[in-house]
């Protein structure tokens, strides 16, 4: 176990990638539909929740540096709770993977694979994410680390370029508080990515002041995401709802940059990288949860069952934008209660329990 751990920078980088990954495609436009330009506040609100989760993780890690989350639940709440909890996790990650798969499928279909069948996408995505899922966490962390500079540079270029295209003043004060909250809830499933910290609780090397690094990386990612969202709203204002793929559109807004023509290609490459890494990690989370639910089976069973189930679900869920959005809004928010509801409750519980034990020991 010990040699399959990732250090805090790698954790930060994975967190960075996750915080970005599925928030720069459809979300800005969807939030505009809900809360107009004030959709930025939806981001802020949900990011605060995300930071809350990370804070919980840091505190938990300080108290229980060596045990895993599943063993904590087993010890303190029993095996039944553990199984139920991790079955919920399984479903949560499965649903999230379906969502991400659909969003990215539509994105690629629209932009670079007009003529090709869905199976081509399957044959590209499935092997790679399965491979990432079977490989060790350490390998995944290192892979994320090596692609991080590339992802980061593309993001920076996108942000810098996207602000060139902004010209109009947005119409403020159109979204109300309620619309911000409703919007946030509808798309809460796109957030809560820091749950992976809980899943890989024991595989993260945590030293004394590592919490700061983790916060730095996540806040940094959040700021960059917000910058992209803001530049998106600034360049499109009233037509934001017409532009589903934010990161692509903010670059597409620039006409003929330096004779190169299409600068938006780099955003496509960015999304490809993010898709693989993100789906790979979620599948890893899925496998990890599977192994907790069925401790006697190997991860091969997890992947095979996932692949079969996923293939059928993906074939059944009709691949168009509207249905995907509907799916994301109707089914997923309730599953997100796992990440934003159960995980914090359990974490707080554990934090309190430990204290009790300590005081018991003293007296």
């Amino acid at each position: 176990m010990k040699n399959d751990s990732i250090n805090i920078w790698q954790t930060g980088i994975i967190l960075f990638i996750l915080i970005f990954a599925n928030k720069i495609l459809l979300l800005p436009s969807l939030f505009y539909n809900e809360a107009k330009v004030e959709g930025v506040f939806c981001y802020l609100f949900l990011f605060l929740l995300e930071l809350f989760l990370i804070t919980l993780f840091v505190f938990l890690k300080r108290k229980y540096p060596n045990s895993s989350f599943s063993s904590l639940i087993r010890e303190k709440l029993g095996v039944v709770t553990l199984k139920i909890f991790y079955v919920l996790f399984l479903l949560y990650f499965f649903c999230k993977l379906v969502l991400i798969y659909n969003i990215t499928y539509i994105f690629f279909k629209d932009l670079i694979y007009k003529d090709n069948d869905a199976f081509l996408y399957v044959i590209c995505i499935f092997p790679i994410i399965n491979f990432l899922a079977v490989s060790k966490m350490r390998v995944f962390g290192r892979t994320a680390q090596i692609f991080f500079p590339l992802i980061f540079i593309i993001l920076l270029i996108s942000i810098v370029l996207s602000f060139i295209g902004t010209k109009s003043t947005p119409l403020l004060f159109q979204g109300s508080f309620s619309s911000i909250f409703i919007g946030s809830f509808k798309h809460i499933s796109s957030f809560g990515d820091s749950v992976f910290l809980i899943i890989f609780f024991d595989k993260i090397d945590y030293k004394k002041k590592d919490g700061k690094k983790l916060f730095f990386m996540s806040v940094f990612a959040m700021i960059l995401t917000l910058l992209i969202v803001i530049s998106f709203y600034l360049s499109y204002t009233y037509t934001s709802f017409m532009h589903p793929y934010a990161i692509f559109e903010v670059l597409g807004n620039i006409k003929d940059y330096g004779g190169l023509g299409r600068v938006d290609v780099i955003s496509v490459i960015l999304v490809i990288f993010l898709t693989y890494l993100q789906m790979g990690l979620y599948l890893k989370c899925f496998t990890e949860s599977f192994l907790v639910v069925f401790p006697k089976l190997s991860n091969v069973y997890a992947l095979v069952s996932f692949d079969i189930a996923f293939f059928f679900v993906v074939e059944l869920v009709i691949r168009n934008l509207e249905k995907t959005v509907l799916y994301g809004q109707s089914v997923l928010p309730y599953f997100s209660l796992v990440s934003f509801g159960l995980v914090p409750i359990f974490s707080i519980l554990f934090l309190l329990m430990k204290k009790k034990e300590k005081s018991d020991g003293k007296t």
């Binding site: 990432l132 390998v139 290192r142």
Partner: protein, 478 residues
Amino acid sequence: MSSMNFFNIENEIKKIKKELHYSFDVCDRMLKKENVTIGFVYLKSFTDNLIFSTAIYEPICALKENISFESVKSAVFSNDVKEIKKDEMVENILKGAVVVLMNNATKILAVDIQKFNARSPSEPPTTPVIQGPREGFTEDIKTNIGLLRKRFYSADLVLKNMSVGRRTKTQVVICFLDSVVDKKIVREVEKKLKKIDIDGVVDSYYLIPFLSSRPNSIFKQIGNTEKPDIVSAKLLEGRVAIMVDNSPMVLTVPFVVLEELQNTNDYYTNYFYATLLRFIRLVGVLIAVLGPGVYIAMQLFHYNVMPLKYLITIADSTQQIPFTPFIEILFISLLFQILYEVSLRLPSYLGLATSIVGALILGDTGVKAGLISPPSVIVVAIAKIALYTVPEQSAQITILQFIFLLVGASVGLLGVVGGLIYIISYLNSIENFGAPYLAPFSPFILKDNKDGLLRVPITSMRERPYSFNVKNNRRLKS
């Protein structure tokens, strides 16, 4: 009892000859002096007449009284005189020693006067330098050890001798700096070498699969060099070198992929320029690996993301081509690979002819005849040239190039990026002798990046690599 212990020299020589299957180059001489019979057995092919007579025969003849084993032993001139056991005789003869038997002694003497005409150290063709030492290792391990010893006038350099190969009994020497190296690595090397049960080791390359953690991988996991200055630099970093007799290639472990981006010339020029060169090498590798794949993916799947001007150029120039783009680019790649193979095999005076035929006639006429399009030729040519920015890895890069070409043509950009992620995570899973293959990039080791893609001045490289375990990390005492 006592007569039993003395040798019957004629019998012994017969036994040896029988054991050596009466090979024609086994030579035996007898010398009788004052009731003492002295027999010499050696291989003609290893022993020079003149040296034999001046170093062994004449001094023994000059002995006057009381010819004993001790007096003979002190009379012969050689750096390497040793007493051996009876069952070691054949082995020593095969290694080039003259075995001396005496009928009044119980001991046997082996005198090594082997003279083998080794190539003198010259600049190796694989790693030419612009400025810097031009010496290269030869096929003779003694010369090689000498070349290395010359660079360390200190007791710190430890050489451990082993022999590998059931039939060849090839001499293998493990070299390391005692106060620097992590002994675990040395032990692991020894363990791995001892485990080898192969009939023969022809060249150091034979050992590579046994030392690698993933022997079937296409990726090189053991460093190799022909230059003593590189080996000494690696030893100073805390690595272990493995010398094999009859091979000018010296292996070094642990190996990280970064070493291929580095070049000896980097350390013998301005650090800033060296950094620039390293970036260029990285870009070269990326172009070589991904260039044709991305190009074909763009042509077959993603015309809509190509800028209009490039699209027009490509569309205009590919109009006339009778092949589909994939066949065309495969054809050009194969053509280049064939030309490369031919130019490598042919003697140099014919090489010029092939390059004329290849470059001028095939390339230019192919384009003019409308069989291949200029953009494809350019893309393949750039990729194939870029391959040689890292010549040591050209085999691996060529394989990757073809893989990415296939993937790009089959499933487009998504496949190319997926393949890239796969390759990188595969490489990340390789660890040799405790060194992650892609260190110091992943895991990112800040201190090692001083000599990573960057090359800071020597004065700033204060520490040895952290990518693998080293006993002592301090390098420069300020």
